[in-house]
Symmetry: C2
Subunit: 178 residues, 2 copies
């Protein structure tokens, strides 16, 4: 059984997806002992409103760092979902923001329609922690990483003084998944 | 003539090299109309103190996002220089912090021994802008990007309230190169 996991975080520019990818990569590498490659690709297609960030995770060395058979895809906007869901693999996991993503891509996969942006805005009171709420849900669903490892990685990266806010966001995201 | 440029930023964890790579990739993609891929690799070798971040820049689509023939290498520590200079290409550019890097790798390349950390600490008064000082020097030396594009990308990414500090750091870094 392959130990390779491919994760793509997609949404709009400004939603903190680069930081989200970095935190996930640091969680699995620093605290789970795995290899990880974290990537942003910027091309003509990235000059619209959609943005993505990818993390490849493996117990082995990672020769090919692009995502081609995605295990877990996060979509925080409809545009991102339309653009970036094509590589989601059969039986992969799709986490879609329930308010923003109304039309799901065709295919066989497991969908989690979660109120990620709403949780950030209403329950934490800061829309900019939506990326951390999403990481909480990912920590719940992704076999390759534990909640504790993600929490430690979050605390290494977020600005001083925002630790409690981000811990709260992460836990709320984790609890969005039954 | 190839339009591909490979840049590697290396140093220690906590020196802001991921952010530096993201800013450089956004500068060339958003403001120069080029393609870019920005990568962090985390493996067993990354669990020491050395850290790196890479940016591949091209007018064409980027199929292979790993750096193998580096055009420009930044080294902010000796350990990073020892570990990550092997892929620097002949006649490539090596920017080494003059205080931290005492032993240069063997090979034919152009060396710039610059007081990057000292400039951040003494002239700007904040050691954490060393990554931005380095980006200023890179903007001067890398054909693929202009100073103005890097400045715009810096201002998009740095925290509110630190714009002037970072503009100053960038300009000082630019002026470190004759």
């Amino acid at each position: 059984m392959s130990s390779r996991y491919e994760v793509r975080l997609s949404g709009a520019g400004g939603q903190g997806l680069v930081l989200g990818g970095v935190i996930l990569a640091e969680a699995v590498s620093l605290f789970e002992g795995k290899n990880a490659v974290q990537t942003q690709s910027y091309g003509p297609e990235a000059r619209g409103g959609a943005s993505k960030s990818e993390v490849i995770i493996s117990d082995e060395e990672i020769d090919y760092p692009k995502a081609t058979e995605i295990d877990l895809l996060l979509c925080l906007t409809q545009e991102a979902c339309d653009k970036y869901s094509v590589d989601l693999k059969t039986n992969g996991i799709l986490i879609a923001d329930v308010r923003m993503v109304k039309e799901l891509p065709e295919g066989d996969y497991r969908v989690y329609n979660l109120p990620i942006l709403e949780t950030a805005k209403e329950k934490v009171g800061k829309i900019f922690v939506a990326n951390i709420v999403a990481l909480g849900a990912i920590a719940h669903l992704l076999d390759a990483v534990s909640f504790d490892s993600v929490e430690k990685a979050v605390l290494k990266r977020v600005p001083k003084g925002t630790e409690d806010l981000n811990k709260r966001a992460l836990k709320l995201g984790y609890n969005l998944v039954d």
